[in-house]
């Protein structure tokens, strides 16, 4: 296949990838979009095989490895529980990063095969592109591994910081540019290896100071990085499918990071520089005076909801941890049988990744037209009888609106306190990740339900 023809096919697969993302603008068109994505990928892979042309014995190996990887991927996709989606996505990002690194190394060792010149005399532009692709790929890889370990709970979710961290990171970042420059001017392979090692280290250091609840930003950011890495390699290989995809994924991840940061009213740099939880601990310990809360049980909660005419459910990360989405759906079914209007209110940063709560509710067969975003539903709280907060905390904290001293001041929150009564389902009175007290707990019309989210929801259903 001629180079021009294959370039046209790569362009087609790039366009199909654009359509794949476009399909996600509504759930109806999304499945078709996913199909376009698969088609685009199939075209890209087929064209690559055809353009190489000479089928040496290597082809068998390529197909075998393709099959092995495919089977592993299919197995994971089939087995993974929906609550583990953030870990899965982080894990997958690390694979993209690592493959970008491997392709870059391979091209560096064997530039003839990629038409980039010869060993020790690689075209300057290719060398720069390769270095960028490899460095960003390496950062994506090690960063995603840390994010994965934190989400999986293997590594503590609390931020790990040390003195001089920011300075050290900045120096490492500068050293990447210097190494790239040295590599390009001298073509010495050693600089390439050092460059890779430094990049792996940066990815690692960049993510360890970031706390568990900032993971939505981190995952989106790594998503973005994996795109830029792919684009870098795309420039090296002069492949438009990779360039288009890399740009799409890069900007997609960047937008998601922006949305997540806005949902927390924090700047991107504030999140990345990390240590949120560490700052907050000091402020929360100051005002530890005892305040009474109203403690309720399943019967009280059932009584309140049975006499309501509309209920708004506010899910949070606690629901995911307790795997309570199915129990919640059953409770809502019972409520609906009693002609009670039930809707769901989702805060942009609820959970550990963008859209986390939506997926869990969808898994529990909650129709997506009963689920609303913050701006859509916030005015409805004033007219609702009961707000049922399950496993969420900071996203309902009125301090974000009326306490300029509060670290979360300015963050958009759900106006839960405007409801006639509020049910808080939590495991304990412990503050949320931001480490700040929630005034809502002590309000006259708030009833606290201290229990495992799943068990309590089931008990309420029994009492309805």
């Amino acid at each position: 296949m001629s180079a021009n023809l294959s370039a046209i096919f790569y362009l087609i697969s790039g366009v199909l990838f654009i359509l794949a993302l476009r399909g996600l603008s509504s759930p109806e068109t999304s499945r078709q979009g996913n199909f376009f994505g698969i088609l685009g990928m199939a075209i890209a892979i087929t064209v690559t095989f055809l353009s190489i042309g000479s089928f040496s014995s290597g082809l068998t190996y390529v197909l075998i490895f393709l099959l092995i990887g495919g089977l592993i991927g299919a197995f994971i996709a089939y087995k993974i529980p929906m609550t583990a989606m953030p870990e899965l996505v982080a894990g997958f990002h690390s694979l993209v990063g690592l493959s970008a690194v491997l392709v870059a190394i391979s091209a560096f060792l064997n530039p003839e095969a990629f038409n980039l010149g010869s060993s020790g005399d690689i075209k300057l532009s290719s060398l720069i592109e390769m270095s960028i692709g490899a460095a960003v790929g390496a950062i994506t890889f090690s960063g995603s591994i840390i994010a994965f370990l934190k989400l999986q709970g293997i590594m503590s979710g609390s931020p790990i910081t040390f003195r001089g961290q920011h300075l050290f990171n900045a120096l490492l970042l500068i050293s990447i540019f210097i190494l790239t420059y040295l590599l390009c001017s001298t073509q010495t392979p050693d600089y390439f290896w050092v460059l890779l090692a430094v990049s792996f280290l940066i990815g690692f250091l960049l993510i360890i100071p970031i706390g568990g609840a900032d993971m939505p930003v981190v995952i989106s950011m790594l998503n973005s990085y994996s795109g830029w890495a792919a684009a870098g390699i795309g420039f090296t290989l002069e492949n438009s499918a990779l360039i288009i995809t890399g740009a799409l994924v890069g900007s997609s991840g960047a937008i998601l990071s922006y949305i997540m940061c806005k949902g927390m009213n924090r700047s991107f740099f504030n999140v990345i520089l990390g240590g949120f939880g560490a700052i907050e601990q000091s402020s929360s310990s100051q005002n530890k005076e005892y305040r009474p809360v109203k403690n309720g049980n399943a019967e009280d909660a059932a009584f309140l909801m049975k006499n309501a005419s509309s209920v708004i459910i506010v899910p949070g990360y606690g629901m995911a941890v307790a795997q309570a989405q199915h129990a919640l759906r059953e409770m809502v079914d019972t409520l609906k049988k009693n002609d009670i209007k039930v809707t769901y209110a989702i805060h942009p940063v609820a959970g550990r990744m963008p859209g986390h709560m939506n997926v869990l509710l969808a898994e529990a067969n909650v129709p997506y037209d009963e689920v609303f975003e913050l701006e859509e539903i916030n005015n409805d709280f004033a007219n609702a009888d009961v707000a049922f907060v399950i496993g969420a905390n900071d996203v309902t904290n009125p301090a974000a609106k009326n306490d300029p001293q509060s670290p979360i001041y300015g963050m958009p929150v759900l106006d839960v306190e405007k409801c006639k009564s509020v049910l808080f389902l939590k495991r304990s009175l412990s503050p949320g990740y931001a480490g700040i007290d929630n005034d809502l707990f002590y309000k006259e019309n708030t009833l606290m339900l201290f229990a495992d989210a799943k068990k309590m929801t089931e008990d309420i259903t029994k009492n309805l």
Partner: protein
């Protein structure tokens, strides 16, 4: 003066960033998780580089390090392609509209 092909690739890149920007803003927030998994899957199109690396200059069972790295990259990218698209499919199957059976 002739224009360097790099400039054309750069144009594709810049324009694609803009396309991505507008397309992603139109994605409904409830589908942000599938958006992440599908972008993950499509970024594995890096497999085209891995295939080139795996097949480059190999002659009958005599593989260079470059080839072996290519094979490894193929495996990783394939995990991502199949895993990413299938898990997206699985998620999207769950997004259903309210059944009007009342």
């Amino acid at each position: 003066m002739e224009i360097d092909p790099f400039i054309f690739r750069l144009s594709i890149f810049i324009l694609s960033i803009f396309i991505g920007y507008y397309v992603v803003w139109s994605v409904t927030p409830s589908l942000h998780t599938p958006l992440m998994s599908v972008t993950n899957a499509i970024s594995s199109v890096i497999i085209v580089g891995a295939i080139i690396a795996g097949l480059a200059g190999s002659s009958d069972d005599n593989f260079s390090i470059s080839n072996i790295l290519g094979f490894l990259a193929i495996t990783l990218a394939a995990v991502n392609i199949f895993g990413g698209f299938l898990v997206t499919q699985r998620m999207l199957q769950m997004y259903k509209k309210k059944q009007k059976d009342k």
